[in-house]
């Protein structure tokens, strides 16, 4: 009987649900947080002094393409994970492809390099700071993604947290690319991927607590 009353309460005064509202909320948060990461990079680290020269380097674009491809794939994952019962489909493949391509390129570069040059290709000058700076720059997008997801209804909380972390990490990496002085594929394949993996793992660890609803 009481369940019937609840149903009657819920149904009375029902307002139409605007179509696509879930998708818009997510898109707004995701796109809105990107300029914040870029501004944070400009204010704290600064853009490459030789930016015009850097923009002519193919490896700069490889770096940016990796980050942008992962931003897209992770955003797609979030739009699915925010809705109960929606399957991820081929999204994991979309996430794997850019990583595998960069790793293949890195392997090729390492194999063709002289043995004594390999250390420099792997570590560059900034391997110690690169992943941490990417992780730090991921913070604004992580907060935005969590905010957006809290208005949706994720039911796989750890996975959703990981996807939010990956999205944020990729935004952080794309912002960091404009500061970063490294252009070797092995460096990018290791330290950029690691920098994005840090927020992904943190997201998986805290997803349960941050995203629980109801």
């Amino acid at each position: 009987m009481q369940t019937d009353v609840l149903i009657h309460v819920l149904a009375s005064g029902l307002e139409p649900t605007p179509p696509g509202v879930a998708r818009w909320r997510l898109l707004l948060a995701l796109i809105g947080s990107m300029p914040v990461a870029i501004t944070a990079m400009m204010l704290t680290l600064g853009v490459q002094p030789a930016l015009t020269r850097v923009l002519a380097l193919p490896m700069f674009w490889v770096k940016l393409a990796l980050a942008l491809a992962l931003i897209g794939a992770a955003a797609l994952a979030l739009s699915r994970l925010g809705r109960p019962g929606a399957s991820l489909g081929r999204v994991p493949v979309l996430i794997a492809i850019p990583c595998v391509l960069v790793w293949a390129l890195a392997l090729l570069v390492l194999l063709r390099a002289a043995p004594e040059a390999r250390d420099a290709l792997l570590l560059g000058d900034t391997w110690l700071v690169c992943p941490w700076l990417i992780a730090a720059l991921s913070l604004p997008s992580f907060v935005a993604a969590v905010w957006a997801l809290r208005g949706l209804a994720p039911t796989r909380l750890r996975l959703t947290g990981a996807a939010a972390g990956l999205f944020a990490g990729a935004v952080g990496a794309s912002a960091y690319a404009f500061h970063c002085p490294e252009f070797a594929a092995p460096f990018i394949g290791i330290w950029y991927v690691l920098g994005m993996a840090v927020p992904t793992l943190i997201g998986a660890a805290v997803g349960d607590r941050l995203l629980r609803w109801g």
Binding site: M1, Q2, T3, D4, V5, L6, I7, H8, V9, L10, A11, S12, G13, L14, E15, P16, T17, P18, P19, V21, A22, R25, G82, R83, P84, G85, A86, G151, L152, A153, T155, R212, W213, G214
Partner: protein
């Protein structure tokens, strides 16, 4: 249930949900009633040792369906959407339950009292929630809802008993339920 039967359930629920998203309250009420029946079977099978909580879980799930109805997309199937919410609620319930069972034994009177209060509270919450909500309403809304919707009196009987006119009883039910819905939803439904 055969796959054809499952399919016809899906078709029915989905078309009701699409109408509900357009603002059709009657379709929505029918949807929630049908869904409530499915949920009852679903939770009964999975909570056979804990039948007291079946009705709680149904109500929690219906409320979650309501509060998150904007996350349903008409291009997708309705049943997996509702099922994912029901499963989420079930796991949440089982986790809370096991935490309660695994809680350390209280070692001072304060804790002991809290524990007893807790379990008493849990058992009674479902039955009391609606009563508590109703009690917050002014009498001109509360009495008609209690007498007509809960006790099952007719509008005329309730009018006689309360001394209100029949139309006042009807308006009281309508306004009161609207007010209740708003209270139930709180800020969770800002969209």
């Amino acid at each position: 249930m055969g796959s054809a039967a499952l399919e016809s359930v899906e078709t029915k629920l989905k078309s009701l949900m699409i109408d509900a998203q357009r603002g059709d309250a009657a379709a929505y009420e029918e949807l929630l009633k049908l869904l409530g029946g499915h949920l009852r079977a679903f939770f009964r099978r999975r909570l056979s040792r804990d039948p007291d909580h079946v009705e709680d879980l149904i109500q929690e799930t219906l409320l979650a369906v309501h509060n998150h109805r904007h996350t349903y997309q008409p291009t997708e199937l309705f049943t997996p959407w509702a099922h994912a919410i029901a499963k989420y609620k079930l796991i949440d319930h089982l986790r809370r339950d096991s935490r309660r069972a695994a809680a350390p034994l209280p070692d001072d009177t304060d804790d002991a009292e809290a524990l007893v209060e807790n379990s008493l509270h849990d058992a009674a919450t479902a039955r009391r929630d609606l009563g508590k909500l109703l009690a917050t309403l002014p009498a001109r809304f509360r009495l008609p809802i209690e007498q007509v919707k809960i006790e099952g009196l007719s509008i005329e009987e309730a009018a006689l008993r309360t001394g209100m006119s029949a139309s006042a009883v009807k308006i009281g039910i309508h306004r009161g339920l609207k007010l209740l819905a708003r209270t139930l939803l709180g800020g969770a439904d800002a969209d």
